[in-house]
Each structure stands twice: as C-alpha cells, then as structure tokens.
Amino acid sequence: MTFAIQTRGLGRVYKSVQKGTGDITALADVSMDIEVGEVRGLLGPNGAGKTTLVKILSTVLLPTSGTASVLGHDVERETAAVRPLIGIVFGGDRGVYWHLTGRQNLEYWAALYSVPAGETAHRISKLLERVGLGERADHLVETYSRGMKQRLHLARGLVGGARILFLDEPTIGMDPLAARDFRKLVQELRAEGKTILLTTHDMAEAESVCDRVALIDHGRVIAVETPRTLSRLITQYERVDFECNRAEIVEALRAIPGVASVVSLPEERNYRIDLSEESATRTVLEKLIAAGVTSIRTSRPSLEEVYVHIIGDRGLKIR
C-alpha cells in the first residue's frame, strides 16, 4: 500500500552555532503513516517540531536521519517528483505578494507549477470563487483582510493541483468566523480526497477537521489517535457532571470501583466524576438517579485537556 505520507525514524538535528550550547534536536525518530485522503492533525506547543516535520515533507528542509516519502517518492532523493504533488499553506500575513491582485498571485504560481496555459484562467477563477474571493479577485492583496489573505493562501496551495496539502497553523490570527469558514473549506477538501497535514495548537480546529491527531512534543510523536480516542487517554472513559446537595451521596460515589475522582466544580453543589472504567458509568448513573439527582450530564474531555495532560502544563515556556 502506498501511503500519502510515510516517515521512518525521521529526525532533524541543528548543529550548534554558539560555543557552549549543544546541538538542537528539532525532530527525533518520527515514524508515521498517513493514508491517502486522511486529514492528520499535528498538535503540539511552540517548538515541538511540527513545522520542522512539515518543512522536511515539503522538501524545504533535509532530515539528518531517517526517511520520509510522499506518495511513494523520497523527499530527499526524489524532490522533483514530490514537489508537483504538494502544496504549502501557512498562516499569517506573509507568503503572498501584496502588490499583486489575488488573481495575479495565482497566475504566478500557476506558471511555476506548469498549469497548462489554456486551463489557467478557468482554474484560477474557479478557485477564487471557491475560497470566496471571486468578487475581490482583481483587488490588490494589500487591501485584503487577514482571513482573505489566508483564503488566498489556500487557493495558492491548490492552484498547482496538489494532492497533498501542508497547512501550517493556517488559522493563526484569524477571527473566529473566518477560522470557521476556513475549516469548512478544509472539510470540503477532505471530501474531495485530498490528504491534509495540519499543524495547529488550536484544539477545536484539530477536533473539528482531523481524522487523526498526532501529539508531538520535544520533536517526538507522543500519540497518534482519533481526536475521540485521544480524549480517552485522560479519563479513559466518560465523565459525569451532576448537581447534588447531599454530601453522603457524593461520598458514596467515591467508593464505587472505577471512579477515579470526584471533584467540586466552581458552581455551588456541582460535582464532576472522572471514570477510569467503562463499566462504572452505569453504576454511577444508577446511583445518582436512585438518589433523586436529576441534573446529570455525561461528556468526554476536550482535546485541550488531553493536550495539557499529556504535554504538561508548561504555560508559555518553549524549550
């Protein structure tokens, strides 16, 4: 089977340029298989190695160990075969020519990706309509909002007919509405069978668009799971929130096997039970109903909680 992206023992070490400082390992022993048509999230804090991985896969950086291939082509030895297959989209204001119009930007990149001349105009118009820039296609990019620039970025990544898209923090700095629209576009691309590797530290983004998420930190992949499975890593199973004013019931719940913890929530008389065994859910719910508790809610932890739990509450520190 040919994977869209495959890495084996992939690593990147930066040689130290300052005396007294050691080499920096940006990526270490990363092995992953991404299937064709999959949307894979790369989730991790700043400096975790997400962008390094994307750079290697997009042929902008050479690995110092291991191998990586894109649709069966080695990124180091077969760059000419890899490059027409990929599109890079990154967040922020840069990466597009501000003094050109949106259409002219795409015309430039279409030429670089050898899009047949007869097909270029039609493809560009279609793409601009698709990303919602049809009416502003002939306006200078410097007049675009951040969200519009980002959509143009995406169109640029697609103009060459890329089968694999690398989206490096694409919604960074976007307002929530623009980010939502952008994610919708990503979902449409998934429906078309594009393979997408999305780096982000936005949990909601990873949850809403990714088939699987790789948690990455200190250059290593810690876990690769579906967003839902990944969530289970904390409480294993479900969580129950309830409202109750009887302390003896709360104490009784603590004694049930499979109850990992019972904590008070900020709201008065509200509690949260984290369960470590699936079978405990039923017992807890039965006990609560029997005690006359009617305000009960079950949920799974958000990916953010998984993220903080696994990577650690590091705050703003970057290693």
Partner: protein, 263 residues
C-alpha cells in the same frame, strides 16, 4: 515547465515592485532621473572646470553609462525580497528551478538600468552640447544595453549569495556598485590603478563596454568596438551563468542548514 512563462510571470511581480518606488514614468523622470543626472553632471562640471574637453568627453560617457549598472544593481537587494515576503520557501518547494522566477522578477531592474542610462545620456548630451558622431552614435543604446545586461548578470550572482543572508543586501549592493564605479574606468582611467586591480577589472562588467562606448563616440576602429562589446557580453554571460547555478545551490544549502524559514 515553460521557462518563458515563468520568466513572464516573474516579470509581472517585478513590474509591481518598481511601481512601489515610482508609480508612473513622470515620477521616475522627475525624481530618479533628476537625481541621477544631477550627480553625473557634477562630475562633468569638474571636467569643465579643469578646462579639458577631453576630460568632459571621458567623464560624460563614463557617468552616463555607469548609472545603468548602478540602477541594475538593485537586483542584489531585490533578490532577497521573497525572503521578506515569506514566498521564498514556496519558491524552493515549487517544481520549477528558482532561477527563472528570480530572473523574471529582477529583470525589471535591468530595464530600469538601460532606460536610466539612456535618459541620462540624452539629457547630459543636450545639457553639455556634446557633439555626437552620426550614425555611429545610433549604436550607443546597444552598448548601453550590453553593459547593463552584463552588470545585471554580475548583480544576480551577488544576489544569489545574498539570498542566504538577506541582512547583507544593502552592503553587498553598495560594495558592488562602488567597485564598478571606482575601478572600471568611469571617472578614473583603468590604467590609473595598480596592475592587479587592472587584471580584476577585466573580469568585471562595465570595463570593456565602456571602452567600446568611448571608442564608438570617439571614432575608434569598429573591430576594437565589436571586440569590447563581445568581451563585455562574455563577462556578463559568465556571471549570469554562475548566478543561475549558485541560486539553486544556495537553496540546497538552505535546505541542509535549515535557514529557510516558513514565515
């Protein structure tokens, strides 16, 4: 891949680059050319003050020609603009070699160089009532174009290094321009300099072309004029080839050392 198409697409970007400096030709003429002519005229006035028409001839041709390479020298700085715009990594990752895109984008400065030199020439000739030998003088624009193209190749070569360290772009541009202006026979004859500098000037742009221009306008033998033009073209072509080769090499080095940033 159609190299011609990439060159044209790159040229479209370059055209917009220059429009940031001068929005229209009137602005170009009244700001840029005015400044260049003023500077060149100062040198020629010095020649006139000395009272030597021979000096005036030497300085007028030298200073009218050199403004072309000086303007084309902006290639050095503009080579780095993709790094500042964040488009460089995408150029590296594109299926096309970097060179056509870069040449396409920066070639606007070659055109600017040729037009700058021709406009300066025309104004200075009129200003100083400089007698032109006709029809020989009709070939002058051709020599100007060759000298500017040759300097463009040289600047592109320097630019291909500067891409890796964009902060050096202005230093490199100024050093290159100063070297051409000082040593290649613009205001001071090449023979004035020590032998080793004279040797270096033979592989620099401007030297041979400028010599041909003086021969052309001074009634020199056609064979010597053609020889100088061909040498100038050969020098330029060599630098251009080295620049093209270096550009992709530098991108490869950037891939190796990790200096190509995404933002």
């Amino acid at each position: 891949m159609s190299v011609r198409r990439v060159l044209l697409a790159g040229f479209m970007v370059g055209r917009k680059d220059i429009a940031v400096f001068w929005w229209n030709w009137k602005l170009w003429l009244t700001t840029w050319i005015l400044r260049i002519v003023t500077s060149a005229a100062t040198w020629i006035l010095l020649g006139r003050l000395i009272g030597s028409e021979e000096r005036v001839f030497f300085l007028l041709i030298g200073n009218a020609v050199i403004v072309g390479p000086q303007a084309a020298g902006w290639v050095v700085a503009s080579s780095t603009w993709d790094r500042f715009e964040g488009t460089y990594p995408m150029l590296v990752a594109a299926p096309t070699s970097l060179a056509p895109a870069m040449i396409g984008r920066t070639s606007i400065w070659l055109i600017n160089g040729v037009l700058t030199s021709l406009a300066t020439f025309a104004i200075l000739v009129a200003l100083f009532r400089f007698p032109l030998r006709m029809p020989d003088a009709l070939f002058a624009p051709l020599i100007v174009a060759v000298v500017c193209a040759s300097s463009y190749g040289f600047s592109l070569f320097i630019g291909s290094f500067v891409i890796r360290i964009p902060s050096t772009r202005n230093i490199a541009h100024n050093l290159a321009t100063t070297m051409l202006t000082a040593f290649c026979g613009v205001s001071v004859p090449v023979a004035f300099w020590p032998r080793w500098i004279q040797t270096i000037t033979t592989i620099l742009p401007v030297t041979h072309g400028l010599q041909s221009m003086r021969l052309l306008l001074g009634g020199g033998p056609p064979s010597a004029i053609v020889e100088g033009v061909l040498l100038e073209a050969a020098v330029g072509l060599t630098w251009l080839t080295l620049g093209v080769l270096t550009m992709d090499r530098m991108a490869d080095r950037g891939r190796r050392d990790g200096s190509i940033e995404f933002v």
